[in-house]
């Protein structure tokens, strides 16, 4: 029995280690060359593959390639769906309105026939209250005309009109998100998110959300890679014998894992938002048609309101996610600033100064010498957007020996692994126990998602994770 428990735990541990290993490899391979130092944002942008300053082209976007393909396929299917349904929606709405008038009239006559007033007026000239009947009919009729006009316009101008409707409703939501995430990551001066390019040129109906989505993901990945890059740098300092020991390596690993876990968690939250928006776009004609019968048909009641709520929730979610990733990066950055090297002066060797390009202040001569060594070696070793570790180390060793002659303890900061590790554990607790729930509370988080694609994908991942254990158990039960 104890053997079975041990084997089962061993399988679980191995599966976890393999999955984490893949995650770490994925992050590591998204950064060009060795992660050793990031003293400038533009160098870092080059290393993560940002092309022509377009943030959407940043590496490391988990599932982004597949999502772009998925957008393309769903976009085409949506177009076919729209073309098919828009032409017939008019007929459906007219039939619906006819049924409504018949049912309403029957119900009205039945109501009037059983009315006390009419019975009491027997013998005289009973008058029917037509206002009651007409009020409901003209209101619904007006709604049908408005919705019909919109759908008619869609029918007349094809998917172009729906694209326009999408552009003025859904795109601003993603635009707010992408602009804000660009602002909070502070990469505006080194990268841009050009939404207009693809939106105007492409025929795909989902294009209005694809580009802003890629920008949000690009920003998220930039921060995730910057944090993980800091961790890899620490691991490399220790591994390559540049400075620091086991705890420096461990602190680096903790940093990598922290950004891996937080980053992937946020990626799934963005996926949730994006699929909600896709849902709104796909069913836009039906939502418009449902608006006409909202007051008179129970099934359609509240549908438009739900769509509006969904749209607004999406905007809020994007802002919430941007704020979370920005805050965790800022805390880790300032912690790294006070250690690598200390004291706090706005400069650290291990992480790029995102957040609006933090500028070092009041640096002492020793830290300035350290900064000069790292930025010089970074410049020398960055070839074809990749950091050459051998070049960096030879440059570092040569420059270090010069600096240590004047400041013997200048590079001792690389040994501060244990304290930084404690910081990382504290910050992880801070994020999961305080920051994240508090942001959710202030920037309203929906309590229970109705349309939770992100969690579905995550659960699918968990199923894969537990699959070897389940297979083992099944085999064990069979052998019994």
């Amino acid at each position: 029995m104890i053997k079975a428990w041990l084997i089962s735990s061993g399988i679980k541990f191995l599966t976890g280690a393999i999955l984490l290993g893949i995650g770490i490899w994925y992050l590591s391979s998204s950064i060009g060359g060795a992660s050793l130092s990031y003293t400038s944002v533009s160098n870092f942008m080059q290393q993560i593959g940002v092309q022509n300053g377009d943030i959407a082209s940043a590496n490391g976007c988990f599932l982004c390639g597949y999502i772009a393909d998925l957008f393309d396929v769903i976009g085409r299917a949506t177009e076919m769906f729209w073309n098919g349904i828009v032409k017939n929606l008019w007929i459906l709405m007219a039939v619906g309105f006819g049924i409504f008038i018949i049912l309403h009239t029957v119900s009205y006559i039945h109501e009037q026939a059983n009315s006390k007033d009419i019975k009491d007026l027997s013998g005289t000239d009973p008058k029917l209250d037509f206002k009651k009947w007409f009020d409901k009919v003209w209101k619904t009729g007006l709604r049908v005309i408005i919705a019909g006009a919109l759908i008619g316009a869609l029918n007349w101008s094809g998917t172009g009109a729906l694209k326009t409707v999408t552009s003025i409703t859904v795109t601003p939501v993603m635009y707010i998100g992408s602009t804000l995430s660009m602002a909070v990551t502070g990469v505006i001066s080194d990268a841009k998110c050009d939404i207009s390019l693809d939106t105007e040129s492409s025929e795909n109906v989902l294009t209005p959300i694809l580009k802003p989505f890629m920008c949000v993901m690009g920003n998220l990945n930039t921060v995730m890679l910057a944090g993980a890059g800091g961790g890899f740098a620490l691991m490399n300092y220790s591994w390559m014998g540049m400075g620091g020991g086991f705890f420096t390596w461990l602190a680096g690993l903790a940093l990598v894992l922290a950004f891996l876990v937080i980053g992937f968690d946020l990626v799934f939250q963005v996926l949730n938002v994006i699929f909600k928006l896709m849902f709104i776009i796909i069913f836009m004609p039906i939502l418009l048609a449902a608006y006409a019968f909202e007051e008179v048909w129970k099934l359609a009641n509240g549908l438009t309101k739900s769509a509006i709520t969904m749209l607004i929730d999406s905007a809020v979610s994007i802002i919430r996610i941007s704020l979370k990733i920005c805050l965790i990066y800022a805390i880790v950055y300032f912690s790294a600033d006070s250690f690598y090297p200390g004291p706090s002066d706005g400069f650290t060797t291990i992480m790029p100064p995102l957040l609006g390009q933090i500028t070092p202040k009041n640096m002492d001569a020793q830290t300035m010498s350290v900064m000069a060594v790292f930025s010089e070696c970074e410049k020398v070793s960055l070839i074809n957007d990749k950091m050459d570790k051998d070049k960096f180390i030879s440059c570092f060793n040569a420059q270090k020996s010069v600096v240590t002659k004047k400041y013997p303890n200048a590079f001792d900061f690389m040994d501060d692994g244990f304290d930084f590790l404690m910081f990382m554990i504290g910050i992880a607790c801070l994020y999961f126990w305080i920051l994240s729930p508090e942001i959710d509370k202030i920037i309203g988080s929906p309590a229970k998602e109705q349309f939770d694609y992100g969690t579905w994908v995550k659960n699918f991942g968990k199923t894969i994770y537990t699959a070897p254990e389940k297979i083992y158990k099944a085999v064990k039960d069979k052998l019994k």
Partner: protein, 424 residues
């Protein structure tokens, strides 16, 4: 649950890696000296060599923390300061983008609102003078807010509310000092070290005054020095118990767990308040929306959309925000009373001499006092509520909930292991 699972996987991963790495370190502990009769490896000499080596390793592993109260800055105070710096930096970034966005959004919403009012006026044939007056009044309010937004609402508001926090932290310090004086106990003043730490930060750019920030973090740190020393004592017990007394090892582990929990409990309660206050400040541009834009009474599609946009953020009214700061000040004062009680209890087990050297009480006194302090720490939220009024205790509840889940998981694993061993 999801958070705990993520966190536990992260910790488990680090632990597994450190365990694997420690295998190579531990391998050096295995004495290779002698093999006893019948191949017995556990000879008296081998065991003593093994224990000595393990104690040496433990010496290396034990964190060397400088507990001199004049220089000691607890890690939670440092994390707190980093948190405040990060929130202030994010505020700087947000002000440059969010303010512009809010101003444009305000103007669009104003135009939208005028449209709705005009529609209502035509439909209901209302009083146009009142309508015009309302539109003008709203326009003035929006203009004032736009001026405030351009001058940086967070900094202006922080300047106004900082004295409230300063008063709260000053009163807290006063209470701690008074308790120390009355009971003739030496509660180490770690505040000076924290103040120094804050002032040596060369890139400090906080929303609140640097001294106020230091004073906020100073509050939970007053008892920290005792907690850290008691934790260090726990390490000492484990070391002394290696190879001699399993009870000492168990006591050491219990002591470490109790006091680390105390450190976390007090630190995170304060940090929770800090995050809540700073995030409220960060959201001030949206408060401008809540203050200057009335919701529409229209129930139609446009009205619903307008009200939906206004409710994007759960923004609070200015009066509520000021109330939040006053509550925080009261909370700090109440917390200081509980910390004073805990510190007085702890002076019986860890006492600071005139030469800044610590002496500790007996093992059982430390454990029992530690349990009492932990109980007080767990009850703090309720007690501070009783003393000082309503506070936001959602964090405490969440942490407690997570701890219960963790304990249930540990118990489950323990049970399954025990049952497996019994079956064997």
């Amino acid at each position: 649950m999801r958070i705990l699972k993520l966190l536990s996987r992260f910790i488990i991963c680090i632990l597994c890696i450190s365990c694997l790495c420690n295998v190579s370190i531990a391998a050096s502990n295995l004495p290779t000296g002698e093999v006893g009769e019948y191949g017995n490896f556990l000879t008296h000499d081998n065991i003593s060599v093994f224990n000595e080596n393990l104690a040496k390793d433990f010496d290396k592993f034990e964190p060397k923390i400088d507990l001199n109260p004049t220089t000691f800055v607890p890690i939670e105070a440092k994390i707190g300061l980093m948190l405040m710096k990060a929130l202030s930096a994010v505020d700087d970034v947000l002000q440059s983008s969010l303010v512009r966005f809010t101003v444009i959004f305000l103007l669009i919403m104003y135009a939208f609102w005028i449209g709705l009012e005009a529609y209502k006026l035509i439909r209901d044939s209302g009083d146009y003078k009142t309508a015009l007056y309302n539109i003008f009044k709203q326009g003035i309010t929006i203009a004032i807010w736009i001026i405030i937004l351009n001058y940086g609402p967070t900094k202006i508001f922080a300047m106004i509310v900082s004295p409230i926090l300063t008063l709260g932290t000053y009163l807290s310090d006063f209470i701690l000092g008074a308790v120390a004086e009355t009971y003739k106990v030496n509660i180490p003043d770690t505040c000076a070290a924290i103040q120094n730490y804050v002032h040596t930060d060369k890139s400090l750019n906080l929303l609140v005054d640097a001294d106020t920030a230091a004073n906020i973090m100073c509050l939970p740190a007053r008892a920290s020095v005792f907690f850290y020393h008691a934790t260090a004592t726990g390490f000492q017990w484990i070391k002394s118990g290696l190879g001699t007394s399993p009870i000492m090892i168990a006591l050491g582990i219990v002591s470490i767990v109790i006091f680390i929990k105390c450190i976390f409990k007090y630190a995170f309660m304060t940090l929770g308040i800090v995050v809540s206050l700073f995030l409220t400040l960060l959201m001030l541009p949206f408060t401008a929306l809540a203050e200057s834009m009335p919701s529409s009474s229209e129930k139609n599609f446009a009205g619903q959309f307008f009200n939906g946009l206004l409710k994007i953020f759960n923004t609070q009214k200015l009066s509520n925000i000021i109330g939040k700061f006053i509550n925080a000040a009261i909370y700090f004062v109440s917390l200081s009373i509980i910390i004073a009680i805990c510190a007085t209890l702890l002076t019986n087990i860890v006492s600071l001499g005139a030469d800044n050297q610590y002496t500790t009480g007996s093992a059982m006194t430390i454990i029992l006092s530690g349990c009492l302090v932990l109980y007080l720490a767990n009850q703090t939220e309720k007690q501070t509520k009783d003393i000082g009024g309503d506070i936001d205790n959602s964090f405490g509840k969440q942490m407690e909930g997570n701890a219960k889940i963790l304990w249930a998981d540990v118990k489950k694993i323990g049970n399954s292991l025990f049952k497996a061993w019994l079956k064997k």
